[in-house]
Symmetry: C3
Subunit: 678 residues, 3 copies
Amino acid sequence: MTRTTGIRFGTAYYWEYLRAPDLARDLDLMVQAKIDTIRVGESVWSTWEPRDGEFDLEWLTPVLDGAHERGIGVVLGTPTYAIPPWLQRKHPELAVARADGSRVPWGARQEVDFTAPAFLRHAERVIRAVVGRHGGHPAVAGVQLDNEPGLHLIHNEPVFERFTAWLAGRYGDPARLNEEWGLTYWSHRIGDWNELWRPHGNTTPSYDLAWRRFQADLTTEFIAWQAALVRELVPPDLVLTTCLAYQRSALDDVRLSEHLTVTSGNAYYLPQDALIHDAEDTPAEISWFSAEPSQLLQAADRMYASKGARYWVTETNATSIAGSQLNLPPYDGQLRQAAWALVARGAEMISYWHWHTLHYGAETYWGGILGHSMTPGRVYDEVARLGAELDRAGDDLTGLTPDADVAFLYSHESKWALTFQPPLTLDGRGPDKDAYERIVTAFYRGACEAGMQAAFVPPERFTPYPVVVAPALYCMSAELADVLAAYVRDGGHLVLTFLSGYADEEARARAEVAPGPLRELAGVRYLEYSTLPRPVPLRGFGTRDVARHWADALEPEGAEPLAHYDHHHFGRWPAITRNRVGEGSVTYVGTLPGRELTAELFRRIAPERDRLVTADAPQVTVRSAVNGQGERLWFAHNWSDRESTVTLAAAATEVTGSREPLPPGPLRLAPFDVRVVK
Amino acid sequence: MTRTTGIRFGTAYYWEYLRAPDLARDLDLMVQAKIDTIRVGESVWSTWEPRDGEFDLEWLTPVLDGAHERGIGVVLGTPTYAIPPWLQRKHPELAVARADGSRVPWGARQEVDFTAPAFLRHAERVIRAVVGRHGGHPAVAGVQLDNEPGLHLIHNEPVFERFTAWLAGRYGDPARLNEEWGLTYWSHRIGDWNELWRPHGNTTPSYDLAWRRFQADLTTEFIAWQAALVRELVPPDLVLTTCLAYQRSALDDVRLSEHLTVTSGNAYYLPQDALIHDAEDTPAEISWFSAEPSQLLQAADRMYASKGARYWVTETNATSIAGSQLNLPPYDGQLRQAAWALVARGAEMISYWHWHTLHYGAETYWGGILGHSMTPGRVYDEVARLGAELDRAGDDLTGLTPDADVAFLYSHESKWALTFQPPLTLDGRGPDKDAYERIVTAFYRGACEAGMQAAFVPPERFTPYPVVVAPALYCMSAELADVLAAYVRDGGHLVLTFLSGYADEEARARAEVAPGPLRELAGVRYLEYSTLPRPVPLRGFGTRDVARHWADALEPEGAEPLAHYDHHHFGRWPAITRNRVGEGSVTYVGTLPGRELTAELFRRIAPERDRLVTADAPQVTVRSAVNGQGERLWFAHNWSDRESTVTLAAAATEVTGSREPLPPGPLRLAPFDVRVVK
Amino acid sequence: MTRTTGIRFGTAYYWEYLRAPDLARDLDLMVQAKIDTIRVGESVWSTWEPRDGEFDLEWLTPVLDGAHERGIGVVLGTPTYAIPPWLQRKHPELAVARADGSRVPWGARQEVDFTAPAFLRHAERVIRAVVGRHGGHPAVAGVQLDNEPGLHLIHNEPVFERFTAWLAGRYGDPARLNEEWGLTYWSHRIGDWNELWRPHGNTTPSYDLAWRRFQADLTTEFIAWQAALVRELVPPDLVLTTCLAYQRSALDDVRLSEHLTVTSGNAYYLPQDALIHDAEDTPAEISWFSAEPSQLLQAADRMYASKGARYWVTETNATSIAGSQLNLPPYDGQLRQAAWALVARGAEMISYWHWHTLHYGAETYWGGILGHSMTPGRVYDEVARLGAELDRAGDDLTGLTPDADVAFLYSHESKWALTFQPPLTLDGRGPDKDAYERIVTAFYRGACEAGMQAAFVPPERFTPYPVVVAPALYCMSAELADVLAAYVRDGGHLVLTFLSGYADEEARARAEVAPGPLRELAGVRYLEYSTLPRPVPLRGFGTRDVARHWADALEPEGAEPLAHYDHHHFGRWPAITRNRVGEGSVTYVGTLPGRELTAELFRRIAPERDRLVTADAPQVTVRSAVNGQGERLWFAHNWSDRESTVTLAAAATEVTGSREPLPPGPLRLAPFDVRVVK
């Protein structure tokens, strides 16, 4: 069941990994920390089924019983992401083939082609055994289907054959494919489907896009298959979910989440100094973790977007994340900051990974709430204090819907296409495969620093927020362009960037004057563009900042120039324009502007809002959300080691504190503090 | 036929790549831009022969007819560098094997072992079909044989067997090979040819040199085979050529060009700021494109050297080159600068790659004269202006032979040997596989900055230019040393550097006191040498500069020291010496001197010349060439964004301008300007 | 026989590599340089046995005879590390398989699985032939068994099968392995030995440690097998040794040396500026060569530790080492400095690699005593001067035992475990696989700069030196902890660092409060630790310096804090503590302190010693050793290009000089000088 009041506070609990476990002590410590949910069992197929067809299902029973006795709910995982040694030995052909034909070696997890019949047969059997045995236990609140799916692009030959069939279904006959993908080029025309080359040496963008789409579909189908299977085995009110790692290669979180009751995801971040706001205009680090405060909010907003609904954070930092060489326990207060930020942006559960640091295995230095010593220390105390605070906040947090005044159109297709043909360099020369994410992140940060709250929206779920940003929306349909035009005419404020609309759904550059279907709407055209190997100063727009990486040669056709390049060659073209259309406007940004200018750009189009709480300094963020009782909560974070303040526009009640009334005026935020008021 | 007046102005034209082509419009736009040559058809075997043995030859006819109607000549390509999918499926064994045995995956082009009988059989059939059908069309001016050959070192097993046979032919018996290659070392002696190891793990320098020589021969043989085949099929006056990418691994441009009517090559360069002269003493970037003005001249001189004759530039920048992350349209004027530089150095054709930017495929961001929008813009206008200017210059450009007062002996063998055993580091530790090219480029730039004009000369075509440079001529025969000695005695000025003559034709270090056969000539010896991990200051020689990378411990035996190291250890040895021999001199440079010192070194030995045009600033280059009527043309480039001047020693006529007489004295060059006078 | 007086002065001599050898001239030049030992024949199996079973054994006879005539001893190598082409062709399956299954290609040396029966059969035959023929020659002083063994981790399938059997022998049954290695994690439990996965994808630390241990054992077994075989063939007083490259992956020098008469090893170093002392606090470069003066001493002390006895330096720099791009002939005096440093630390032989630079092969630019020209030059002269000096020192050098007042516990297991799970980063993020070596090297340098002399000691040979350091002794047994406790109680001064004792012998993190078995002894505990991505200032301890890389959150339980972090978060914990226990003390260092602070830390616990010679400047080191007659010799090095001094506490005699008495007081050291007194 989904929780009906407050939020869940949880941890992954791997009792089976301990050599001298003390179940009662662990569960009692959890209760003391107000932990009410544990996640169990997803990694140990070889414990469930030590030999082919021989099951040992009872080891978990004491954990379920112990949890139930203490009112702790359990999320039970299907163990399919880590196959046992006997299965890899029985079916070596299951090993994932990489593009170059080499096999992913066994020894970690997620090494197998999960689409293979031999795998699915064994997976079904173990799921039926485990979930059949325990799915009805009263402690069980939900089932996690597999774990972090989509790690590899699977190049096994049968998968390639399915791809060919998938293409045949889409394109009908090879001549059509030749035409759509431009296979005349470099003599790539095929006469028969069996002439299609393998992805390894592929250089055709449309091919790559289809391959990525197909691979994401495989992941979705696999989770959908598990969901249907488990649904047969459990009470109907159980939550079915999986834990998503959003950076997975073969993942479309939106389509996959259609098959889940609730989206779940990882929200890892670099703590310590990385979680302190700084004003430097450095390029965003793109990784599987957030590396600055705005990226943590961004990750949360991405999770909300998967279903356009509240979500579970199945994994987030306890003491340390990642490899043995990078141990960064959060500073005092940072765990609390992160948790409240996620709650503010729609998290319905905060679950730590994991209860105790493991004594062996690949993740020996991935620190739990308890360290290797199993002794409660500073981090346990921080978690327990937070647990108490969340518990006190109680029903105020029920059904929280985060506010948003700007929507970012986020497109997997554009990301994949710009990974294959990266538009930016990292060092002035080499391609930046994360260019799409870097562009999105730069504009997200700008909006955040303008005080705006953002939602991510898949293009196919377009919603008319006051401001809509389509950053580098490279693969855009003409239909979406029409939708955007209508939105602007009706008063919307649209922000377009270089590359938006440049290509079509097949990742083909359009054979029209750019920006193609957006040209009239934006009131600009361009016939050329240039990489900027070095930053170029900008003039106009009030602030002095730089343009980076890219410059469209914008020729206004009705739009008003807002900023120009200060450069002997590029100076002839504006860098940013605005076009007024009907009630709305289109801001076209032909470059990647500096940090301050990006924020200023959003400040100018941010809608007026009544705000109970206003930030007084750049290191402070204020988020708001409306709870199930229709009350708006305000979350003020001080992402710094200095005192800061926010200003209350009216009297308020503190959700995180004494619940005594707060007068209007300045409200103090200690270093690393967060305060929640309503 | 070769053109008899003026120069050809052309573009690659891929009509077949367009989804909605407008042939007449394209050709008319070309005519307006004075484009008189197009290059067609070399990449589309799967269009010519969509199925094994089924040909479709008529798609090109409208292009040929349309070109002919407008007086545009056509270079027709054989399509052999990009095989069709059906052929790779029929003969998977054609895929190139890399050194490690892995196969080059299909999906780009040039993936096949072109020496394989199965390939050659199919290649012959398609060449006979295509050239047989169209080779006699009146529009056709020439045939391009394959394209940019020599991409891979081919490690397929039959090729290795041919290599063994090739060695047996050269060395007679294994004992001789053991002796010549020093195979006693590390137990490498073989008793039978079949004991020879594969190149993958090879560590023997002589082996590697033989392998590189052999691979280059394979490329030459392949093009020679096509030339002989096509010659049967076309009128005798047709030009047979191919497009050379000079950086190809398996290429000896000099030997290959013996089989061509005209050499053709790529002349790509980084435009924008890279084409602005700067005085920084940074190491040259070695790549497939020129990265500064002197490198563009160097590339041109390399092309002239292939046959020691005028050449075609089959490909040069239109709007952008290289990957999606690097879009650098030239600044206004830079296309014109590049074209005139190439013409000044013997280009008989300037042909852009390509007419229009492609909408799909690997080169989607390789910008054409028209962009994706197919709409003429700034770049088209620049091309058209240039076309008009070249057309006006007309017969003045006929038969231009570039002047040269310094010859660089350029040796593929030395390059290959120093790639295998690089003498320089990049970062103080790691080997620099481009060391040979970097040394050559540094000395070329010095000569250029001393106002000299250079020719590249293969050692086997030695010619007594006033100055001859043998930079790092590592693999040198004793016979060449004798030739150089005679040249110096007769008044020549020879410049030798570290490593010149150090090894013999088998890339063996000589067992004599260095520099071996050059010792007496140079009047110096050395028993040791040192890497210089950091630059060391030099004293003497008028200018203060640094020594980099290398220091020979030179002991003069008759030569006069010109510069010393300012260093507690190296200071005992001179860095540069000069030896007077007969009428001439030998300058021995035991290090890689800084930029300014290198130029000064050439200034001191540059021959006196009567110059109509003299540069007034370092950012200006002046080149000269003599046309078919015996007139000397002078080409003055201002490689900067500032105004500059040259000085006319006498009245002159402007070829690029109004053709009115110019008085002696200063002649203004606008930013990014070039002026041609006679 | 081992030499009984003085030390051996030698060179590797590869007469067989020369195309026009002059044996008598070479040997005479050696005699002039006082070279009394040559090392021969280890690389030329294909010369000894040009065809399968056909031997040519006489080519060496003139060398042996010539040497014997001149009183030069010979170390004869078995040629097994470089197999002949006919053998690799006969048994291609011998090629070493890498982790990924690819084969090490043939073409260098050490490409084969030396454990394979087919290899051993052929190896035995050639050893019997060569050593049988020449082992009794009166010139032969020793036999070198193979060369630099342990290059590869061998992944050939039969080796993996032996590994499984090795595990079965150790653990009995798979259930035990599951338990010990924690294979519940990620579903790795096996039900049968044949389910064990290959090392390629392994992520389990205990598995990796076993694999490394097993691979080192293979190397030891191979050398032991050769030793037993050769022992049958030679007179009983012959030295059996091999040349160790200490950085080899599959090497435990201590266990291997049990099978040798004398340890031999390489002592390569970067000369020129790297051998000049500088005070910069940069991280040590970890490579196969020493990169600063203290590293050369460290390498020497490591060699002594292999057997806890004097050793041979079979290879050290002559003119240059490493690749063609890095030629660094030593400055005047540096060869002498290096040799005396090695002698001071127990070297019984100094042998150069090699006599002459080779004219072909992979090591063409590895410079010998003679260069390619075979002409004596500066380096020969330096060697000859040194030879004369060593000869003069004569019996003073007999039986020198180096002094030491601090012992470093060096653990291969800890090194391997921290290679698999590196605790440090190089650049703030990426793992540093050399972390263990870097930590050891930092503390060694500190001890050196505090004027201490060090011994390396394997934990299983624990010896109570005045000070004992256990740097990052990660894999520590509880038994060793008890030994350390007893040592401290008895007055020892123990230095522990972060990670010491953190894991057990299976590389499992301990499930007790850290530092586990050392907690009581150290008087501190910690429940967490943090990476320090940037240096953090330290306060206290007299000197101001920084902490790097790591911070244990030390909570004193009796220990006294000595230094704290100056940091808002880490400031609550001490960085260094001292605990007084019985007569002794334990210094716990929870971070990697800066260079100066590390030295200061050692200064405070260094034992008082009567010193004849004291260094007056940081660029000077003083070492001491006691010779066979019980006299203590003092070696003073000036590692700089400036004059320096040491102070004599009493009158002394100069071993390196005139042997006239030196008065007490300052003794001058010229730049790059070394003086030895007694």
